[in-house]
């Protein structure tokens, strides 16, 4: 019993999150009409705060990797991603609360599902068990389907949710098939067992075709979750159709969790310990996998950036931009080494700030004007300078220009890729960054380089709370561009995975 209690203490963040999800669901029933948004949101935030507190207490514990219940692990890697998810959720909740026109019935359900989606992300980040990984993915996905279709009565939203469901089902089926094959070959669903077993398979020189098929299928599933090409097609439709706070969640938290699972999957199963020296075939396979991911990365960023060029809808443009960014991040994954994975973590944190910010501005703008067209941003710079200035900071970071964190993040990704020998990939990414300049620039131009008189909408006031949120994100975006030492160390430290 004591053992159970101790193990339970390791999953307090998960328990706390689940508890508050239920609280949010129930609170909705008891507060007076018209105040649900604030009250339920408040409780959700409290829950996230408490969760963050428990997570914080877990950070830096010894030993760095603590197995829990035989299927989960509490280590700096998972803690980082959980903090990431909690932070993203907090902003999504705040955005929803500040969204002036949001009047859907059932705030309780909304926040409940949102927090449960976060729970799914938690499990994705902290498991090396294929079953649990699949369940976490399903929890996250099912919650996301519902959230994407949350704006009932809106055909776009409904269509988006429908497409999302279909593709999600196919992708998780494909992935499950891959998992099954892995189980069939190794007799285990535990990645820490699968890894050595696969090493034996490679050592026996038994042909790698089943392993290839299994990995390929799993990879397709992960690629779907992080919206890498050519599994990304659902992304723009869903991002555009879903309510903006939900889009923010999908673009940031969901994608981050997908990367977490992908990294752990690769780390545990497919990266030979070079110090120990795995069989030659495995080394070769690992490199081959890396090359494939590199090709996917190049494809993803190119398709994302090219498609973003001609978009007129701001949200759709950002959707393609987030695809492109998935491509950049994959660059770090392709290295299949510790340095590359660190740069992935770093970039995801950066991505978190700049994308939350950009979507926040979109939401603010859509809220106050009911519009999402880039051209209609005309004159925003003069009408509400604070919002527009923060937006410029986010855009500059998204392009990857100094002095923002976007530059440093890309810098690490590029150096990691070049060191691994993917010079061509770095060149492709460089060209892509140049292309991305054009469409990000169009937003800035619409905001600032059109005279005030052309402004389509009258002055739109940012509420102090909202302005504060944007400022926090903008400061983060710039701050990590200058003082990134501690974050970098944290990311590197987070690589102490259970092996």
């Amino acid at each position: 019993m004591n053992l159970l209690r101790e193990e339970l203490s390791w999953i307090t963040p998960e328990l706390c999150l689940t508890l508050f999800a239920c609280v949010a669901l129930l609170v909705d029933l008891f507060v007076q009409k018209g105040r649900e948004s604030v009250m339920v949101g408040f409780f959700s935030l409290m829950g996230l705060l408490a969760t963050a507190f428990f997570l914080y207490r877990q950070y830096g514990v010894t030993p760095p990797a603590q197995p829990v219940f035989g299927c989960m692990v509490v280590d700096p890697f998972s803690t980082l991603f959980k903090l990431f998810a909690v932070g993203a959720l907090a902003f999504v909740v705040l955005f929803t609360m500040l969204s002036r026109q949001t009047r859907p019935d059932g705030y309780g359900e909304f926040y409940f599902i949102l927090l449960c989606a976060g729970l799914g992300a938690f499990f994705l980040a902290s498991t090396y068990n294929l079953l649990l990984m699949y369940l976490g993915l399903e929890l996250l996905s099912i919650a996301s389907y519902i959230l994407a279709g949350y704006a009932k009565g809106n055909r776009r939203s409904g269509e988006a949710a429908m497409k999302y469901v279909i593709f999600g089902a196919v992708a998780s089926g494909v992935m499950l098939y891959g998992f099954t094959l892995l189980y069939g070959m190794t007799g285990s669903i535990d990645l820490t067992v699968i890894g050595p077993k696969l090493r034996d398979q490679f050592a026996l020189d038994h042909g790698t075709i089943p392993i290839s098929v299994a990995t390929g299928l799993c990879l397709a599933g992960f690629a779907y979750k992080i919206s890498a090409a050519p599994f990304h097609f659902w992304t723009p439709d869903v991002y555009e159709g879903a309510p903006t706070p939900v889009t923010t969640f999908l673009a940031v938290a969901s994608k981050g969790a997908g990367f977490a699972a992908l990294l752990r999957f690769l780390q545990a199963g497919f990266i030979p310990d070079r110090t120990l020296g795995g069989p030659e075939a495995m080394m070769g396979y690992s490199d081959k996998l890396g090359t494939l991911v590199a090709v996917l990365a190049a494809l993803t960023m190119t398709l994302g950036n090219l498609a973003a060029l001609g978009q007129t809808n701001l949200k759709r443009m950002l959707a393609y931009s987030s695809i492109a960014h998935a491509g950049y991040v994959l660059m770090g994954v392709a290295t299949m080494n510790r340095e590359g994975f660190s740069s992935v973590l770093f970039y995801l944190v950066v991505y978190y700030f700049m994308n939350l910010g950009a979507f926040g501005v979109v939401m603010y703008y859509a809220n106050t004007t009911g519009d999402e067209q880039i051209d209609d941003l005309k004159g925003l710079g003069w009408r509400s300078p604070l919002v527009a200035i923060t937006m410029v900071a986010f855009l500059v970071a998204l392009v990857g220009l100094p002095p923002t964190a976007g530059f440093i993040g890309k810098w690490f990704l590029f150096t990691a890729a070049v060191k691994k020998g993917f010079l061509w990939l770095a060149v492709v990414a460089g060209i892509n960054s140049a292309i991305s300049l054009f469409y990000y620039f169009r937003v800035a131009r619409a905001m600032w380089l059109r005279p005030e008189e052309e402004a389509k909408y009258a002055t739109v006031h940012a509420s102090p709370a909202f302005a504060a949120l944007l400022l926090v994100l903008a400061v983060g975006t710039v701050w990590f561009g200058v003082g990134f030492d501690s974050l970098l160390r944290y990311c590197d430290y987070s690589q102490n995975l259970l092996r």
């Binding site: 053992l3 669901l25 219940f69 035989g70 299927c71 989960m72 969204s99 026109q101 949001t102 009047r103 859907p104 019935d105 059932g106 359900e109 409940f112 599902i113 449960c116 079953l131 649990l132 369940l135 929890l139 099912i142 919650a143 389907y145 519902i146 279709g149 949350y150 704006a151 009932k152 009565g153 809106n154 055909r155 776009r156 939203s157 098939y177 094959l181 189980y183 069939g184 070959m185 190794t186 007799g187 285990s188 038994h206 042909g207 790698t208 075709i209 089943p210 392993i211 290839s212 098929v213 299928l217 555009e240 879903a242 309510p243 889009t247 939401m363 859509a366 809220n367 009911g370 999402e372």
Partner: protein, 188 residues
């Protein structure tokens, strides 16, 4: 004898799946799907997983298939898109076959085996114990309950009749557009 039953059930499952994809009418497809479910259940029985076999029949045949049939019944028919679906179905089955063959060709690899495998007896009780053992499947089991809860609440929410809902920010533009088309129609 066992081989005969295996071939029977496997054939049922495959034939059902093929028929599901190729049938002209959706209702027929649904019934063909039942064949697949039953075949798979039979395979479970042959493997000694009686609990799984019963669950398969209860949930898939008794629950899901009925749901699908209801869905078909309540949806107005639309025959225009069938060709497209057949193309997709065809390519999808090709892909599946290709993958399966790839695995088979490559399966010089030895699949993992349990050496001391005794014939399982009743499986329900051990499964139940395993599901609640902390070092077993407790966490996945609990997580499944959350997944189901989310799915339940979500589906209730989506299915709930639409009240006068003011929709979220992002949809305002769409609403305006819809209104525009309505007005056009009214004008015409």
């Amino acid at each position: 004898m066992e081989l005969l039953f295996f071939l029977l059930f496997a054939g049922l499952a495959i034939a059902g799946a093929v028929a599901t994809v190729w049938m002209r009418y959706v209702v027929h497809s649904a019934f063909a799907l039942m064949g697949t479910f039953l075949g798979v259940a039979g395979l479970y029985v042959l493997l000694g997983a009686d609990f799984l076999a019963i669950t398969q029949i209860l949930i898939y045949v008794g629950g899901i298939l009925v749901l699908i049939l209801f869905g078909i019944m309540l949806t107005p028919p639309d025959r225009t898109e069938r060709n497209a679906k057949r193309v997709i179905g065809f390519s999808a089955s090709l892909v599946a076959i290709a993958l399966f063959l790839a695995v088979q060709i490559g399966s010089v690899v030895r699949w993992a085996e349990k050496s001391n495998l005794e014939a399982p007896k009743a499986t329900a009780a051990p499964i139940g114990r395993e599901l609640l053992r902390p070092d077993g499947y407790l966490i996945p089991f609990e997580l499944v309950s959350v997944v189901l809860l989310v799915a339940l609440i979500g589906s209730v929410f989506i299915a709930r009749r639409r009240k006068a809902v003011r929709v979220d920010d992002s949809s305002t533009a769409a609403i305006l557009a819809e209104r525009g088309t309505l007005q056009q129609k009214a004008g015409a």
